[in-house]
């Protein structure tokens, strides 16, 4: 009897173990098999095998021809160096040409990968797989002096250049609730992937890759397809951003990893004309240059590589020396935008470091594929290495002025209170966009599409950029935080300096542009100007009171952290449609635009209606996404609770959606286009100086002292580019 029972028990235990094991294996398998389809079903994103018709095999003879083309300049330089002694110019040319055609002279030169590929017999670039044949793992040097090796693919896939967001601490951003983003509690994914912004006017899911029908004047009524979307500057070649990475588990599918564009960052001969939107059976995505020629030109990323994308927000698309803009695409050319985010090109003509040949990575010293942005930042952009300092002082020391023996000491003295950029960026490019109106587009006959109206572009001090105290932290909507070191309470930018356009010339310019673009009456334009001149006028008295209290409770303590210095900040505001159900004292949820609808019809509200039908936007208004992300996101935003009332009613009309300007100007950091010669004393230390000391919260006595320094007369008066006296209201 007992024996039987024990046998039975044994069988039962055995059975239980077996069932559990089967469940585990089954669960794992189904997770493997079903997770990806389930994820795609839930989010509406699509995945599929990614092929690029630029990936073509060449013959050995073609290989050598490409090699000769790639190395021509370098061989030319070497040959000329050897024939320099020849007196007769013609003889010199003949001998140089002979050397250029000498076999031994053309081998083993230039790009090292030519030899590697030749030796390995590589005649086709197939994507990351080709790179990983040799670079499966790479050495990494850390800031603390240690080094190690990392898996290259994992390193890239988890870098911000691929994920567009980070689900970890390390943001110099504070919510309007006073909490540092992701510093405590459950971290949420934050970064470009889910940050609504008025410059692109769309979200990454709704604006990833779009084909827009245009009827440019040059085509005489014929339709020309144009490419547009966030994906043009992304190293993934997929149909959507790396959405899977927003969850704490799971990974992007294998196909997405195979779509990574290694060459846009590493190939010197990368052809930006291959960056355009293509359509296949699965959907729309961005093409890339996978030619063997590009692969043969691989090096460490040069300035050219970084600027393939980043000159877009530095100098802008229309900056003359933005080489990517000159290669807009063989097919469906990319739409180039006039207004630049920052208007400060990184280019030898504009920046002293670029002119000196300084490379991006000299200052932004990477660790593997992780690239530091610097410890300071006002905006919600994720940072691979948030603790790694990128600062002028790293090279220049804290006593950077050495040339002028009369002034160096005094100039160095300023370093305690004034950032380098404040004097060494004197103006921005005039295409720098300050006010972008997405709600009232303007038709461009030249482009044959409707485009947003930049009612103010300016690179001038006070108009396009302004000076603020800054301790390295920003708010959830890109407002620089800091305080006058006297901590008198006079400086309160979120109630004052960042909520107003005070520059009369700027206001006049908005009036002129609006009149020209919209053909409105003076009364209409006056009403239009009201929220631009005073963005707080959009708030009800209750909201305003709530805002005042939240600033005192949550923001002032952050303003008083650390040491603040005076920095220049690009001003920015945008008029977009907002979900007013989710409104707080600092703004409401911005809604994205569907690019084709917007550009083709110019009906901005219709473009919103289309865009918010994107499954990802719908999920934002549902459980569990509401709890996973939106509630926390909204707390930072200064809204108590994320309302799940979807802004599209059942009858397809927009529900509680209104066009508004942001309730304060965004302030974007300016760090490039550094000039060798900075401002001089009198540029700021005068009653009409560039810096408005009153706006910086100085006392009346101190303002008087700062504007009437007896020492100023000893130094030269004003600096070279006529820093025009600033008139204030």
């Amino acid at each position: 009897m007992r024996k039987q029972a024990s046998a039975f028990a044994k069988t039962r235990i055995g059975l239980a173990v077996l069932v559990l094991a089967a469940l585990a294996v089954g669960g794992w398998l189904s997770a493997k098999i079903f997770y990806e389809p389930a994820f795609e079903w839930y989010t509406g994103v699509k995945n599929g095998p990614l092929t690029f018709n630029t990936s073509v095999a060449v013959t050995p003879a073609e290989f050598e021809k490409i090699a000769r083309e790639l190395t021509a300049q370098e061989r030319q330089d070497r040959a000329e160096a050897l024939t320099r002694g020849k007196k007769d110019a013609f003889t010199r040319k003949v001998e140089t040409d002979m050397l250029m055609n000498t076999a031994s002279f053309s081998s083993d030169t230039g790009f090292k990968h030519i030899k590697y590929f030749r030796d390995a017999g590589i005649l086709r670039y197939e994507g990351p797989g080709t790179c990983l044949r040799c670079h499966a793992d790479i050495p990494v040097n850390h800031a603390d002096g240690t080094s190690g090796r990392v898996n290259t693919l994992d390193d890239v896939v988890n870098s911000v250049h691929f994920t567009f967001q980070k689900r970890a601490a390390g943001f110099s951003t504070y919510g309007y609730n006073g909490k540092q983003v992701n510093a405590e509690g459950r971290p949420i994914p934050v970064g470009k992937i889910d940050r609504a912004c008025g410059i692109p006017g769309s979200f990454t899911w709704t604006g990833w890759a779009a084909l827009v029908k245009s009827r440019p004047a040059s085509a005489h009524g014929a339709v020309v397809m144009r490419s547009e979307g966030c994906g043009q500057c992304h190293i993934g070649g997929n149909y959507h951003p790396a959405t899977e990475k927003m969850l704490p588990f799971g990974d992007v599918p294998k196909s997405a990893k195979e779509g990574i564009d290694c060459l846009i960052c590493h190939a010197q001969a990368y052809d930006m004309n291959e960056k355009y939107v293509i359509q296949d059976a699965v959907g729309l995505r961005w093409n890339q240059d996978r030619s063997l020629k590009a692969a043969m030109s691989v090096t460490k990323p040069s300035n050219k590589n970084c600027l393939n994308c980043h000159q877009h927000n530095f100098g802008g698309d229309t900056y003359a020396d933005n080489s990517a803009s000159h290669h807009p695409g063989y097919l469906n050319p990319r739409i180039l935008h006039d207004g630049a985010k920052r208007g400060m090109p990184f280019d030898p003509k504009e920046d002293v470091h670029a002119a000196a040949g300084v490379q991006c990575l000299d200052c932004h010293v990477p660790e593997g594929h992780l690239i530091p942005r610097g410890t300071k930042g006002t905006d919600l952009v994720a940072n691979d290495l948030p603790n790694k300092v990128v600062a002028c002082e790293n090279c220049h020391t804290s006593a950077p002025h050495t040339k002028n023996k009369l002034m160096d000491v005094v100039l160095n003295g300023h370093v305690a209170r004034v950032a380098c950029e404040t004097c060494h960026i004197k103006q921005l490019r005039h295409q720098s966009v300050v006010l972008r109106d997405w709600v009232h587009p303007t038709y461009s006959p030249e482009e044959g599409i409707y485009i947003f109206t930049d009612v103010l572009q300016s690179g001038k001090a006070d108009e396009g950029f302004r000076y603020f105290w800054y301790n390295g932290n920003g708010t959830f909507l890109a407002n620089a935080l800091g305080d006058n070191p006297d901590k008198s309470g006079r400086y309160n930018p979120l109630m004052d300096q960042m909520t107003r356009l005070t520059n009369p010339a700027g206001i006049e310019e908005v009036r002129r542009t609006a009149k020209e673009s919209f053909h409105w009456s003076d009364k209409q334009i006056d009403d239009y100007l009201k929220p631009i001149v005073d963005s707080l006028s959009q708030l009800t008295p209750e909201m305003l009171e709530k805002r005042r209290a939240m600033i005192a409770r949550n923001i002032i303590p952050v303003q008083d952290l650390g040491d603040s210095k005076i920095y220049p900040f690009k001003l920015f505001n945008a008029m977009m449609y907002e979900d007013m159900t989710n409104q707080g004292p600092f703004g409401a949820m911005l809604l994205p635009f569907d690019y084709p609808t917007y550009y083709e019809t110019g009906v901005s509200s219709e473009a919103v209606r289309v865009a918010i039908q994107n499954p990802m936007i719908k999920r934002m208004y549902q459980y569990p996404f509401k709890i996973y992300m939106m509630d926390a996101f909204m707390h930072y935003f200064g809204v108590d609770q994320w309302s799940d009332v979807y802004p599209l009613a059942d009858d397809g009309t927009l529900r509680n959606v209104e066009p508004h300007w942001m309730r304060q100007y965004g302030t974007l950091m300016l760090n490039h286009s550094i000039k060798k010669d900075g401002l001089l004393c009198a540029d700021c230390h005068s009653s009409h100086g560039l810096i408005d000391f009153k706006a910086l919260g100085y006392s009346a006595q101190r303002i008087h002292d700062l504007e009437n320094l007896p020492e100023v007369k000893y130094f030269k008066k004003a600096s070279s580019p006529k820093a025009a006296p600033v008139k204030r209201l």
Binding site: H401, V410, G413, A416
Partner: protein
């Protein structure tokens, strides 16, 4: 605590100094010297200056009147001040024995190796200088203040490399032989082992490393070396406070490190007290019971019982 030895500034001096401090209070005021590339710090913290021994002085008392005009001539940069300019003549300052300090300083390894490059100001910031060992009641604070002076350079690898052309060896490594290194650093000054004893207030003859004290018994003995250096002023103070005889007796019986601990002292008193009390109780009880037994014997005897 450190006693304030300075008086508040008179209003005229304060106003004159304020003129200078308009610029010189900027924390980053300074320049890099073209000759050696080193940073010359021209910043003066007003709070620190006012609390220092020099705090009542007008800036131009030491820096010549030439500095009253702005901009200061670049030629003035080459002018080097010396402590002795003021401190040699003043009778009130005789007790500080500056000539003796100068002799020691010139014999120190720093000046021997680096020559004129090495000035008083390499160690002493005249704008923040406070006499410390002489007036401090807490030895630990003196240790902290003085060691920080050495670590300004010796805890700063690039500074040592620039000055001497040789890399700074790791302080932990070269002191690894010293048992309880950290404890020593918290309780004795670098200069207690690295100078030769002298009659000046604080010995300024920093010795080459070969001549530094390495013998434990030099300090850990009844006639400790530290009584001439680190505990010199404390011993003197205690003598004047507690009376010569008392202080001398107590001082001579000290073995540094064994009875300097307050709690250990208290504990030993408690143990001693308990021992005495134990003996007393024991004796008392014995006496009591002895007496009792004698009384009973007497009783039995009286009643005629065996």
């Amino acid at each position: 605590m450190v006693r304030m030895t300075t008086l508040p500034q008179d209003p005229a001096t304060a106003a004159a100094n304020q003129k200078c401090l308009r610029c010189h209070a900027l924390t980053t005021l300074g320049y890099r010297n073209a000759a050696d590339g080193l940073y010359v710090n021209l910043s003066v913290s007003p709070a620190e200056y006012h609390a220092s021994n020099h705090g009542k002085l007008a800036c131009v008392k030491c820096h010549t009147k030439a500095f009253q005009t702005f901009p200061h001539s670049a030629k003035l940069r080459r002018k080097q001040l010396v402590c002795l300019d003021c401190h040699k003549k003043d009778r009130k300052l005789l007790k500080f024995q500056f000539p003796g300090i100068l002799r020691e300083f010139q014999a120190s390894v720093h000046v021997q190796k680096l020559g004129k490059k090495f000035t008083c100001f390499q160690c002493h910031d005249p704008h923040g200088f406070k006499i410390h060992a002489r007036v401090s009641r807490r030895v630990a604070q003196t240790v902290l203040y003085d060691n920080r002076i050495c670590l300004q350079c010796h805890g700063n690898e690039p500074a040592v490399l620039l000055a001497s052309g040789k890399p700074q060896p790791s302080l932990d490594l070269i002191h690894a032989w010293l048992p309880h290194t950290e404890l020593h650093w918290a309780n004795v000054r670098c200069i207690d082992c690295h100078t030769s004893p002298s009659n000046t207030g604080v010995s300024h003859q920093i010795l080459p490393k070969e001549r530094a004290v390495r013998d434990c018994v030099r300090c850990h003995s009844s006639n400790s070396l530290l009584l001439q250096s680190l505990y010199k002023f404390q011993a003197r103070q205690e003598r004047s406070r507690d009376g010569f005889l008392n202080a001398t007796i107590l001082n001579q019986s000290y073995v540094i490190g064994a009875t300097r601990n307050y709690y250990l002292n208290v504990l030993s008193f408690v143990v001693f007290g308990l021992t005495v009390a134990g003996i007393a109780v024991h004796a008392g009880l014995r006496r009591y019971f002895n007496g009792k037994r004698a009384a009973e014997d007497e009783k039995r005897r009286r009643h005629g019982q065996p």
